[in-house]
Every structure is written in structure tokens, then in C-alpha cells.
């Protein structure tokens, strides 16, 4: 498990670094349209995110009541 964590964190850090570099390069070279695209993606995902948050709240309340 410890080896798995080290591998995963390494991959994640490298991917985030590459992504940050890509975003930085895109912004510095005049990219602008993705803001609209990402807002569309957010609008698409937003209901599911709200649904997941509501489910988590319900489960949390159930656990709290059971513990009490």
C-alpha cells in the first residue's frame, strides 16, 4: 500500500505539473475560449454535483443520528 501511495502521488503530481504548464502556456499564448467551454461543462456537471452533495449530507445525518 505504501508503495502504491508513492506511485500514485508521483503520477498525480507529474500530471498536475504538466496540466499547470499546459494551462499556463495556453493562457500566455492568448487562449480565451475555454472559459466558455468550461462554464458549459460546469453547467452540465453541476446538477450531479449537487445530487452527490445532498446524498452525502443525508448519509452523514443518518450516521450522526445512529451514533447519538
Amino acid at each position: 500500500m505504501k508503495k502504491g501511495w508513492s506511485i500514485i502521488i508521483t503520477i498525480v503530481l507529474v500530471a498536475i505539473l504538466l496540466g499547470a504548464v499546459s494551462v499556463g502556456v495556453g493562457l500566455m499564448t492568448g487562449g480565451d475560449d475555454p472559459r466558455d467551454y468550461m462554464s458549459q461543462v460546469y453547467e452540465t456537471v453541476h446538477p450531479y454535483v449537487n445530487w452527490a452533495i445532498d446524498v452525502a449530507k443525508v448519509l452523514w445525518e443518518a450516521v450522526r443520528s445512529a451514533a447519538a
Binding site: M1, I8, I11, G19, A20, G26, G31, D32, Y37, A52
Partner: protein, 369 residues
């Protein structure tokens, strides 16, 4: 078997081969790696060795008379003492009889004797299955022929083995080593097993059939004289299976301690532990499944972003931004997914293992055998 003791045994066998002047003869003396593995396994007591942790000069194989010396070392040393002196004494007549210049003469003198009766090479395999009346004629001839070359010495061995039980030839019996008594037990033990692909399997045949096996089994084991390097792996594989139960069958006392279940306590523990464990697992599964849902959601968004990057952005700068974002989102999704895997494999599996080990600790107790 402890690694240190294994190395000791291997070192003793290596020294045995180094001291032996005729390795082929020594291999015949040892008969088979499996037999040696059984001998060592019978002489090895792991619990006793645990108590003898103090360092011993195992490399000095010359005099082994200390009472604290492990039994398996003594067993190998007995084999060493019985096998190596024989080999050292053997070359004396050979040096007198043969030389590089006499080789051309000797075969001419000795060839006419065996050839009129039977050819030497076809005798090897039929010797095992040969009918009893023919064996007395072959047995006296073959040991004499075995001396000139090593090959004939190897090939004559199966015939001798086959001839022993039936006619009781005096010459092979006179060479029996002092460990023959223990060797008989080993032979009796090996009779109960069939060896296939370096693995021992207990034979289910009746005893009548087993009594006919030894001659047939010892003959093929003696044939591959070039198997000396395989002594170690064969011994390991056989010893790992035999050390515990097989050695006990031969006559060693049973294990000193045995774990016995306290049945009422075990039943009570199971009745309590199963519901509690199920509740705890269910509680742990809730956050685990939430993590899984979150990971799936994040990876879905990342995949959608990545696919959209190649669809509607002709400008390279926009493409780079979208690719970068997709990469970051997928990396976060991978992290959450791994957290889910860790949650399943760590706390939940650990809880179940802990409950089982706790039950083994509470509900089992050691009882002296």
C-alpha cells in the same frame, strides 16, 4: 528448516563431494537427492534448533562430537564418514591396474568374457525385470566389469540393486554403511511415496505392490549420475514437504505443542464477532462507496473535457488550456480512485483480519502433545 542450517547442510555436502575422489561413486553411494533430503528431514528438529541459537563452528566438519551438535549435522557426518573413506581407498587398486598406456590392452583381455554370454549394454534395463534364474549368472560378472570404466560402474549399479533382494549377494551387503539401519527406515518411507516431477506423492497402492516397488524405484534413481547439481533443489522440494509430517510418520515424536480450539468460546466469539464485523464493514463501506462515486464523477468530467478539447477548439492556445485542465482533473480522479482502493484494502480488510486473529488468540490455546 532455518536458512543457516540449510547452508550448513549444503556446505557439508559440498565438502563431501570435494573430498571424494570419485564423484560418480559418491553419487551412487548417496543413491538419490530425495533419499538425502529424507535423511536430513528426519534428523532435523526445528524446535530443538531454535533452542540452539548459539554460534557453532559448523565449517569445521572434521570432528563432530559435541552433544549440542544438531542431529542433522551428525546424520550428514555419518554419511560423510561412511562414504568418503571408501572413495579414498578405492583408487589404490585402480592405480595398480590401469594406466593411460594399458587401456588399449585391458579391453582386449576382458571383452571376451562378458560378450559370449550377453551384451553389456542391453543388460541394464532388463536387469530390473529379469527373471530370478538369470540374475545369479549376471551378478558376479558385472561388478568385475564395473571397474574398468565409469560408465559400466554406473550401469552395473541397477543390476546390483535388483539382485540384492532376491539372491542376497554377499559383496554388496559387505559394503553397507553403519547408517544402514536408518537407511532402511528411509527406504521404507520412500516406498510409500511415488516421485513424479520432483514431487512426492503418497502412493495409494496396497502393500503387496509396494514391496515390489523398491527394486524398480532405486534402479531409475541410480541411472542419472550427472544429477549432482540437482541435489539441492530436489532436497529442498522434498524436505519442505516432508519435514513436518513425513518425518513424524517415520518415528519422530509429534510436535511439542498443538493449538486446540476452545469450542464454546469459539462459538460465542463467532456469534458476536460476525454481526459486529458486518456493521463495521457496512459503516466503512459508506465512505468507500462515496469515494468511488466521487472518483467516477471526476474521471467522467476529465474524460469529457479531454474529448471536448479535440472537438471545438481550432486555436492551439485554447487546446492547450483544455488539455491542461483535463490532465489535472484526471489526476485528481486517479487520486480519489486510489483512495477508494486503499479504503477497501486497508481498513476493511484490516478489520476482518483483526477480528480473525483476535478470535485465534482468544479461542485457541496451546496444548502440550
Amino acid at each position: 528448516m532455518y536458512e543457516e542450517d540449510r547452508q550448513t547442510a549444503l556446505a557439508m555436502y559440498v565438502k563431501m563431494f570435494e573430498d571424494a575422489e570419485d564423484e560418480q561413486a559418491l553419487i551412487q553411494e548417496l543413491i538419490s537427492p530425495t533419499r538425502q533430503a529424507v535423511i536430513v528431514a528426519r534428523a532435523y528438529n526445528a524446535k530443538e534448533r531454535k533452542l540452539q541459537v548459539e554460534a557453532q563452528s559448523r565449517e569445521d566438519l572434521g570432528e563432530i562430537d559435541d552433544e549440542t551438535t544438531p542431529d542433522f549435522v551428525l546424520a550428514i557426518d555419518r554419511i560423510y564418514q561412511s562414504a568418503v573413506p571408501l572413495r579414498k581407498a578405492a583408487p589404490a587398486p585402480l592405480a595398480d591396474q590401469f594406466s593411460l598406456f594399458e587401456e588399449a590392452e585391458l579391453p582386449e583381455e576382458e571383452e571376451p568374457a562378458p560378450l559370449p554370454d550377453e551384451q553389456p549394454l542391453p543388460d541394464e534395463e532388463p536387469a530390473v525385470d529379469a527373471p530370478p534364474p538369470e540374475l545369479p549368472q549376471e551378478a558376479p560378472e558385472e561388478p568385475e566389469e564395473a571397474l574398468p570404466t565409469e560408465e559400466t560402474a554406473e550401469e552395473a549399479a541397477p543390476a546390483e540393486d535388483a539382485a540384492e533382494p532376491e539372491e542376497g549377494a554377499p559383496a554388496p551387503e559387505a559394503e553397507e554403511s553403519p547408517e544402514q539401519g536408518a537407511g532402511d527406515k528411509v527406504d521404507n518411507f520412500l516406498m510409500d511415496f511415488s516421485i513424479e516431477n520432483d514431487e512426492l506423492a503418497q502412493a495409494d497402492e496396497p502393500e503387496e505392490a509396494r514391496q515390489t516397488e523398491p527394486a524398480a524405484e532405486t534402479a531409475p534413481e541410480g541411472e542419472p549420475a550427472g544429477e549432482a547439481p540437482e541435489t539441492v533443489p530436489d532436497g529442498e522440494s522434498a524436505e519442505s514437504k516432508l519435514s513436518a509430517d513425513a518425518a513424524d510418520e517415520i518415528g519422530e515424536p509429534a510436535a511439542q505443542g498443538a493449538r486446540k480450539a476452545v469450542v464454546p468460546l469459539l462459538i460465542l466469539y463467532i456469534l458476536l464477532a460476525i454481526p459486529v464485523t458486518l456493521v463495521c464493514v457496512a459503516l466503512l463501506l459508506i465512505p468507500a462507496l462515496l469515494l468511488l462515486a466521487l472518483a467516477v464523477g471526476i474521471i467522467s468530467v476529465g474524460s469529457a473535457t479531454l474529448m471536448g478539447a479535440f472537438g471545438g477548439f481550432p486555436v492551439f492556445a485554447d487546446l492547450m488550456i483544455i488539455l491542461g485542465l483535463a490532465l489535472i482533473i484526471l489526476a485528481l480522479g486517479l487520486l480519489v480512485l486510489w483512495t477508494f482502493v486503499w479504503f477497501i484494502g486497508g481498513p476493511i480488510v484490516g478489520l476482518i483480519r483483526g477480528v480473525i486473529s483476535l478470535g485465534a488468540k482468544w479461542c485457541y490455546k496451546e496444548v502440550a502433545a
